[in-house]
């Protein structure tokens, strides 16, 4: 598939936004469950704002994917059948919930408004609902790809797990950086979890890479044309200047470019941030976590490019040779 930048940004940005929220909420529980740790309201407020910002940026990027963005509202219509429609519905819900969550924390951390314990439980309730929505959003986003059964690289639960884990990893990394600023007591917690989630994501992503090298193509030139013969080659695709079908479904990159991008994401998404986080945790110097997030996000852009580019659409069987 031809990686579209709008979709790369959409999925990585909302992934980070969703991950960040999950990090915030898990941090809140962590704090909640350990008396003794201070409650840094500002951290959640700023964190939620950032998460929301990422989600909205993602939403914004998604418009660039549409030919007719002015009609985007129509895309909520088919929630019964279309994961895309579902995503379109869930994404704003998530945004609203994250906003609510942030607002709740804002109120919670503003002493004159309500007694602290009541307000605190409110944020947990809202956070719980938001978590459900975030997970649903991960499911929707992942399923948009995973449900297209003939894109065999995508048609696996791993796609949903990867979206969830990679989003979470970047979210936790971002949360670490944020915590260092606004909730130093959570830095170590986030740092460790960022490492753990990144490692799990690595396992999952590696699993999908391995899986994808082993795919047995269901479609072949034989099934595509119905001609039963070992040796079929396309002589002409019927057009010479290209068409939508030669642009949309082909990565448009050389095999070396492919390898480069695979390795760059494998390095940037996993070991680099992990090392930077560990370095940050040990040195407690500013900048490491932010660098870790930046590296990981960059890596995720490459990962998403690769995710699209690697998917081999069976329609490509019909568009191989100019002649």
């Amino acid at each position: 598939m031809h990686p579209a930048f709008s979709v790369i940004f959409l999925t990585t940005l909302i992934g980070a936004g969703q991950g960040l929220f999950l990090a915030l909420y898990s941090g809140e529980w962590f704090v909640h469950s350990r008396s003794g740790l201070p409650y840094s309201g500002e951290f959640y407020v700023r964190g939620s704002a950032l998460s929301m910002g990422l989600l909205i940026a993602g939403l914004f990027a998604s418009f660039f994917h549409l030919g007719r963005p002015e009609r985007a509202w129509r895309s909520a219509a088919q929630w019964k059948t279309s994961w895309l429609s579902r995503e379109v519905i869930v994404l704003p819900i998530v945004i609203v919930l994250v906003a609510l969550y942030g607002t709740a924390h804002y109120f919670a951390s503003t002493p004159d408004i309500a007694p602290p314990h009541i307000r605190r439980e409110g944020t947990l309730w809202i956070g719980g609902a938001t978590t459900a929505a975030v997970l649903a959003l991960f499911l929707c986003t992942g399923m948009i790809y995973a449900c297209i059964r003939f894109l065999q690289e995508w048609a696996t639960p791993l796609t949903v797990f990867n979206y969830t884990l990679l989003g979470s990893a970047s979210g936790f990394t971002l949360a670490t950086a944020l915590a260092q600023q606004y909730a130093a007591e959570l830095t170590r917690y986030y740092g460790m979890w960022a490492v753990v989630v990144t490692l799990v994501a690595l396992a999952m992503r590696t699993a999908s890479l391995i899986r994808n090298t082993r795919i047995r193509r269901k479609s072949s030139l034989q099934t595509a044309t119905g001609v039963k013969h070992q040796r079929i080659t396309q002589r002409s695709q019927g057009l010479m200047g290209g068409s939508f079908n030669t642009r949309e479904f082909f990565p448009g990159a050389s095999p070396t470019r492919f390898q480069q991008l695979m390795w760059s994401f494998l390095v940037l998404v996993f070991p680099v941030p992990i090392l930077l986080i560990i370095a940050g945790l040990f040195t407690e110097m500013a900048g490491f976590f932010a660098a870790a997030f930046l590296a990981q996000y960059l890596g995720l852009l490459a990962e998403r490019w690769f995710f699209f580019a690697q998917a081999n659409h069976p329609q490509n069987l019909y568009y191989q040779t100019m002649g």
């Binding site: 080659t233 002589r235 057009l239 010479m240 200047g241 002649g323």
Partner: protein, 961 residues
């Protein structure tokens, strides 16, 4: 688009539907044009049209993009003083200025030496008018594209059985059971052939295609027989060998309807190889007198042919008298093919021996055992009554794969003989004629015979093109040298019945046989795809004498588009498109006749002319009137015809009853056909009848027309032929033998110049024989091991569709296709840039590997490559950057040799351009190659042309969305 309301009801625009005839190619299908608010909305096949029965092709359906193409010329243009030809620097002028320039020039030429004016036309369909103009002007220097196209096909068959494939006849696939197609990619009969082949296949017929390449029609053949280019003659002769060996020939047919049983005189002397004739009073005419002999098996002596009760021998050797040994022509054929065994042919053609044998057996057995008997009584010219029409259902079709080789004439003769042996001439399931064919062998039309035929201010007494029957018919001077600029009808190419357009520029440039003053080109892209040796010819067009005058002083080009040729014009005449003009597909030229009878058709404008475009027909009539050519003016010298439609209706070959341009609705009220007085409403009657006139002959006249008394008399009555005489198949060609005898110095006839004696004696063989194509004979085959050919893509017509926004998306550029073996040997890969080189030059292009090509052959689609900027394409267009033209590798002349220095690269009999004889080698191009070679200086849009929509285009008829 919430609801799909049928558009024709919901549209507010005004919709009109008009019928006319397509001209996106020479097939001439009937089309129905739907207009919305005056803009072309849709062009579909006319279901009522006999030719295409409602279907249309890729080109026809893209007519909109031709009509509104930005490459269209819209104003007359004059080359800017001081600019060079080829630079395409023009200034617009008025039509009046254009006519004044031409009138002044042509008047002077006609007044002094009319042959200084040469008129050559390309893929047009109005040879009746252009030929007549030339004749009236008095110049012999006229021809259409036939010489570089397929004259071998016309001549090879017409000199054998009085008809041909191409536009003159074809295979009866409705009844055939076995169909063999040789060397055909798309053909002129595009849609009808496709309709017929698919119906044939559906009906369970067996289809064999003989072709070095498997594309298009060959793709759906039941069997593909790949063959080495230029070797079909060998295959066909081997098939004949096997048929004779097995006795798989139609003896009855050969005896009754051909000269197979006629006795050939083998006494040394000036009658050697001629048929023995008895003293039957000879009639005036150009046909075969019925005065030859058979050797009767029953009485064991010579008898007059068609002697009732006689049963002649086809084989054997007899003595007429002590010193006159004779043999039936068939015996000579059997001797001729004796060594052309399948084993031998396998070696030459690459087709396995078993395949050759098997195909011969299939043909022979199907022809013999699946006989068709139609309950149609008919009478032959010898007054034998027949209860039925019989047919042997083996049909053939062949085109330029046979024709476009210098040995094509003899290959096609061999094919004609094969068809004759199988008894398939104008019979159901075999070959069928289309009116006005069959013609006598050869047809009666003749050219002048010497320089005295060309006189100032005088029309030619004869026709500019004709059919020589003997050396005395040649158009040569006392030294035997050519009178025509293209050297047609000279000893170099005696039977060049369609001229040699491909040598005109070179000859005129060299001044051999002489210089001319004005060259007028109509609808031919002679600076590109219809010329051989293109790069050099472009230089010749631009070459000057020492005095600074162009070697070809004046070139006028009539084109509808900014073709490569336009750049080399001094004067450009913008033509209309087919949707804007009147046209006739006339019985005087090549009508669209069907097997069942004559059909002609017309074009009627469906939209007004664009800009100042003017039909070339109108140009000719205006010029004819201004120059006072007799046919175009009344006795008092005043203009006779208002315009072209008026001319078509009122022109009469003989007052009152002549055949005219149109056969239908003649006579005052349209009650007559073929001939009759002018009918002022003729156009309207055509218009009402789908622009077609179709006269289905009575069933009993539809077959065996060479010998069908009823038909021949009908044809004579309607002036299709002069004599109602049998047209027997020339299995053995006396016409050729007469040229040979002259070359051997045995006859009184005109003699060839010494240098050509051997050539004539060799190639004017009365029986077909196989020889390596002329260029091959002179090529180092170790150096150039491959043959390079082109073929037509179905979705492009020659060079003229690259301006079509839809069609060019299908063929934007071309590749050189070849067997992967060639790449393995040359160390390059599929898609790589390669050089393809012949002894004449080299071209850089991209290659594609293909399994569907004979490994010794490389090929490409014809005329996809374009010169930079031509056709109003951008300089970066694929056509000029990635597309290439194979013509740069093909020479218009042979290497100097014993027969002369400037012989055309053509068939020595007919002058047919040998496009497919070139040998090449292919090797990897230097790294980093990005563009084809050669490249030419980019030409810029001409005055009057629409600017190209650079970025995008969305056609929506009638209104813009």
């Amino acid at each position: 688009m919430t609801a799909y309301i049928p558009e024709s009801q919901s549209e507010t625009g005004v919709t009109e539907v008009k019928n006319t005839t397509c001209y996106m190619c020479a097939c001439r299908c009937g089309i129905r044009v739907t207009l919305r608010d005056g803009e072309v909305r849709f062009i579909q096949g006319n279901p009522q049209h006999p030719l295409n029965k409602g279907v249309i092709c890729a080109k026809g359906a893209s007519g909109i993009m031709k009509q509104y193409s930005p490459a269209r010329l819209t104003r007359p243009l004059l080359r800017k003083p001081g600019s060079e030809r080829g630079d395409a620097e023009f200034e617009p002028i008025s039509w009046d200025q254009a006519f004044n320039i031409l009138e002044e020039r042509l008047y002077r030429i006609r007044d002094t030496d009319p042959k200084q004016f040469a008129l050559f036309t390309g893929r047009d369909q109005m040879q009746a008018l252009t030929g007549m103009f030339a004749k009236q002007f008095g110049t012999p220097n006229y021809a259409a594209h036939g010489g570089f196209c397929s004259v071998n096909m016309a001549a090879g068959m017409i000199y054998t059985f009085g008809g041909s494939f191409w536009e003159f006849g074809g295979p009866d696939l409705e009844r055939a059971r076995l169909f063999i197609m040789i060397g055909t990619a798309e053909d002129h009969h595009s849609n009808p052939l496709k309709i017929a082949i698919s119906q044939f296949k559906r009906d369970g017929g067996r289809f064999i295609s003989i072709n070095p390449v498997r594309t298009g029609y060959s793709a759906i053949a039941d069997e593909w027989v790949p063959i080495k280019p230029g070797t079909d003659g060998a295959l066909l002769l081997a098939l004949i060998n096997e048929l004779i060996k097995q006795g798989l020939y139609d003896r009855e047919f050969l005896i009754q309807y051909t000269n197979a049983a006629e006795l050939v005189n083998l006494r040394e002397g000036n009658e050697y190889g001629m048929f023995v004739r008895t003293e039957v009073p000879e009639e005036e005419g150009c046909f075969d007198p019925q005065n030859k002999l058979w050797w009767d098996r029953i009485t064991n002596r010579a008898v007059l042919t068609h002697n009732k009760g006689a049963d002649p021998r086809l084989m054997g050797e007899f003595e007429l008298d002590a010193d006159t040994p004779v043999k039936p022509a068939f015996q000579l054929l059997a001797e001729r093919v004796k060594d052309y065994t399948p084993e031998w042919a396998a070696h030459v053609t690459g087709v396995p021996t078993e395949t050759i044998r098997r195909i011969a057996h299939e043909m022979g057995v199907v022809a013999r055992d699946q006989k068709i008997e139609l309950p149609i009584p008919w009478t032959d010219v010898w007054d034998n009554e027949h209860e039925t029409i019989t047919g042997n259902p083996v049909a053939f079709h062949a085109m330029r794969g046979l024709a476009a080789h210098s040995n094509g004439f003899h290959s096609i003769r061999a094919l004609s003989l094969l068809m004759t042996l199988l008894g398939t001439i104008d019979r159901p399931g075999g070959f069928r004629h289309k009116a006005p064919f069959p013609r006598p062998i050869p047809p009666c039309a003749k050219t002048g015979t010497g320089p005295e035929s060309v006189r100032p201010n005088t029309p030619l007494g004869d026709l500019p093109l004709g059919w020589p029957a003997e050396p005395d018919d040649l158009f040569v001077d006392d030294d035997g040298e050519p009178v025509r600029i293209d050297k047609a009808f000279s000893w170099e190419y005696p039977l060049s019945v369609h001229g040699l357009m491909h040598n005109v520029i070179t000859n005129a440039w060299r001044g051999d046989p002489y210089r001319i003053d004005t060259l007028m080109i109509f609808m031919a892209n002679m600076a590109w795809n219809s010329t051989m040796n293109t790069e050099r010819v472009r230089e010749m067009l631009n070459d000057k004498n020492e005095d600074g005058e162009y070697k070809i002083p004046f070139i006028a080009v009539c084109d509808a588009f900014q073709s490569e040729m336009v750049a080399f014009a001094d004067l450009v005449l913008p033509d209309t498109t087919y949707l804007e003009r009147h046209d006739v597909m006339s019985m005087l030229d090549r009508p669209i006749s069907e097997y069942d009878g004559p059909v002609d058709s017309v074009r009627i404008p469906v939209v007004p002319p664009t800009g100042e475009c003017k039909p070339f027909q109108e140009v000719l009539i205006e010029l004819g009137s201004r120059l006072k050519l007799p046919a175009f003016v009344s006795k008092d010298g005043s203009r006779k015809y208002r315009d072209y439609p008026d001319f078509i209706v009122n022109y009469e070959t003989e007052p009152g009853s002549g055949i005219g341009f149109l056969a239908g609705w003649r006579g005052k009220g349209g009650e007559k056909f073929m001939r009759g007085e002018p009918n002022p409403n003729q156009w309207q009657m055509y218009e009402k009848n789908n622009c077609v006139y179709h006269y289905p002959l009575p069933k009993s006249y539809q077959y065996m027309r060479n010998w069908n008394k009823g038909y021949l008399e009908w044809a004579q009555r309607h002036r299709l032929i002069r004599f109602a005489e049998p047209i027997n198949v020339h299995l053995y060609s006396e016409v050729l033998q007469q040229f040979r005898l002259a070359a051997q110095g045995k006859t009184e006839y005109r003699q060839p110049p010494e240098r050509l004696r051997k050539r004539i004696a060799t190639y004017f063989d009365p029986l077909p024989f196989y020889f390596d194509p002329l260029e091959s004979q002179q090529t180092d085959k170790d150096k150039y091991p491959l043959k390079a050919i082109t073929q037509r893509p179905m979705a492009m017509y020659h060079s003229w569709d690259s301006q079509n926004a839809w069609l060019r998306q299908i063929h934007a550029h071309n590749y050189l296709y070849m067997s992967p073996e060639v790449g393995t040997k040359g160390g390059f890969d599929d898609g790589d840039w390669v050089w393809v080189e012949s002894m004449w030059g080299r071209v850089r292009c991209m290659c594609r590997f293909s399994e569907a090509v004979e490994p010794g052959t490389v090929w490409t689609w014809n005329a996809i490559g374009k010169a930079s900027g031509a056709w109003n394409l951008e300089a970066a267009a694929n056509e000029s950057c990635k597309g290439f033209l194979l013509n740069h590798l093909i020479s218009e002349e042979l290497p100097p040799g014993t027969d002369g220095d400037h012989l055309s690269n053509s068939d020595p009999v007919t002058g047919q351009a040998a496009w497919y004889d070139v040998h090449v080698r292919v090797y990897k191009a230097e790294a980093g190659a990005q563009k084809t070679h050669p490249q030419f200086k980019t030409v810029h849009p001409l005055p009057g042309m629409k600017a190209t929509p650079k970025s995008w285009l969305a056609f929506f008829a009638g209104r813009r969305r």
